[in-house]
Symmetry: C2
Subunit: 346 residues, 2 copies
């Protein structure tokens, strides 16, 4: 029987285990375990003795081993296609707020919108027996990219992008309301006569739903629809700027544009600013109302979707999925117009 209790402080010394702490005090592993978990089943004297000795030996609790035994884990993965998009950051705030309250631990993984990476990350999360996942699926995701995770039973919430054939809980914005509000504001309030829906990826995206009601409302109001400006487009400011600059060079823009997101509106705003100085005014409306949109120049008017609250809702839906008690709404907030300068309101 080797004496394991005595550890030295040399670099590379063998890692201290719970057993070492127990041996050093002549106790059993079970007792030390109870202390580490703050169980009331152990006397105050023993508890403090254990804590002191653990500290002295430099013992570090191995959560991974505990998780293996209990089949539980407190890590929730946020699997997101683009961490550069501020929308993602705002959502993460909400998720963290709700899940942090019940002791869950949120971390963000970046798929860079690549399905292979997304698959690898999801597999890894399943393999690590994470507590849950909230994800905005990569654009080209199909049902079988989620086969693994569905079969694993890992509680999962899909955000924003719905995928055909995947029956996982879904949290999304009210696309119909967004389209309607956008059309209303541009046409009724600003009297636009030729409008477009600018940007947004063609696939697995809220674009379809938003554009549908938007376009219907436009038709009903007898305004013109600009199909060229309404072609799909990657939802980044860069892509939006390039496309808008191109279209502006070819001719005058519509007089009202609903952008797929504020992120897209930023690019359009830049293109309009650098375009011909005395061009006819173009009312620009974003979607989301990201935090920084008020800071922009011109300040961006937007159909607010409240991304932080959207994150909270995801958190709550995930809790429900995990069979935990939930307080607060599990329904995304209703979108509303936040009018600023870019549409001409201020």
């Amino acid at each position: 029987m080797r004496e394991d209790g005595e550890q030295d402080d040399r670099l590379g010394a063998r890692r201290v285990r719970m057993l070492d702490v127990a041996n050093a005090l002549g106790l059993s592993r079970a007792t030390v375990s109870l202390v580490m978990r703050n169980s009331p089943l152990v006397s105050e004297a023993t508890r403090s003795a254990v804590l002191v000795e653990a500290e002295r030996l430099g013992y570090i609790y191995n959560q991974a081993a505990a998780n293996l035994r209990t089949q539980r884990n407190d890590l929730v993965g946020l699997v997101m296609p683009d961490v550069m998009n501020p929308f993602v950051a705002e959502v993460s705030l909400g998720v963290q707020e709700v899940l942090g309250e019940v002791g869950l631990f949120v971390m963000i993984a970046n798929t860079v919108d690549r399905v292979d990476l997304q698959r690898q990350i999801l597999r890894s999360l399943v393999g690590h027996r994470a507590a849950g996942v909230v994800t905005i699926p990569a654009l080209t995701s199909t049902a079988d990219h989620f086969a693994d995770i569905r079969r694993s039973g890992l509680p999962t919430v899909l955000l924003l992008r719905h995928i055909d054939g995947v029956e996982l809980p879904f949290v999304g914005t009210d696309e119909a309301a967004i389209g309607r509000l956008g059309a209303e504001h541009l046409i009724t309030v600003h009297g636009c006569r030729r409008v477009a829906y600018f940007g947004g990826d063609p696939l697995a995206s809220p674009r379809v739903g938003r554009m549908e009601t938007f376009r219907r409302a436009v038709t009903e109001a007898a305004a013109d629809w600009d199909a060229t400006w309404s072609e799909p487009l990657e939802a980044t400011p860069d892509a939006a700027y390039r496309r808008a600059a191109e279209l502006l060079a070819a001719g005058p823009p519509p007089d009202g544009v609903l952008c797929h997101s504020d992120n897209v509106a930023y690019g359009l705003a830049k293109a309009l600013r650098l375009g011909t100085p005395d061009a006819a005014p173009c009312a620009v409306l974003g979607i989301d109302d990201l935090h920084q949109s008020a800071m922009w120049n011109p300040s961006i008017s937007s159909v607010a979707t409240d991304p932080v609250e959207l994150g909270r809702v995801c958190g709550r839906v995930l809790l429900a999925e995990m069979g935990m008690p939930v307080e607060g709404s599990c329904t995304p907030p209703a979108p509303e117009i936040h009018a600023r300068a870019s549409c001409g309101c201020h």
Copy 2:
């Protein structure tokens, strides 16, 4: 001996283990293990039989158990004070790029700049035996907030904010060069006569180093130093805007301002824009050159620190710390001026 090989597909069916797959085929666990790890030690026939059966049974590899045995893990934590800051997103891109190449798996945790949360997250990462950590310490961090992680031996890289008494590898920007370049550009190129360093938290922050050389250069050039505008300030656009609006209401601004970061410059730019229309021009220079700064109006001139490359450097330093081979530079890139409109260059 219970037959474990036959699993049904009911919800809640017992989780399939490696042993179940082995039993179903009359093989040993070890063989299945080799297959799952793509070992060449197993025949092609056996390998495919195992894969097919694993798929059929819905077996999911338990990475956590494997990690326990091998004492290894592929998760690297990015522990960041504010995921709303685009700087963090850019850094994460670089870290992920470098670490992803060697099969490491990066996730971002948000401390919201709270030391208690930071401590909890670091403990959790240590407890989960993560492969490594890259962190921008929370503002009020002290050496003993890092005692746990230091003792644990978990490879850790500190980014940007140095902490007294913590001898962990540190990656930071060249503050002296930043201060010097900033002063040079404002004073020599634009002829500013009264300048300030705007924003940045007072503690554990690059502010001190940057301001020192900046101020010295200003003095040497016999320009005036505006102490009021140079008071410390939380590094968010909101805080910057509020402070700047306040100061502008009280009197004219300096004619040249070096902002602690682009994030701060955004707020100042808004305040200047909303200020008196015929005020004397104020040259604004940010620091970092975030991706979106080119999109801003006015486009933000900046002392570029290349956050993505900074992230790559962190990744490489971490690899070195983990004893892995490293290719590429472990030194942060030299800062350089990216001149745009906000300082008056375009």
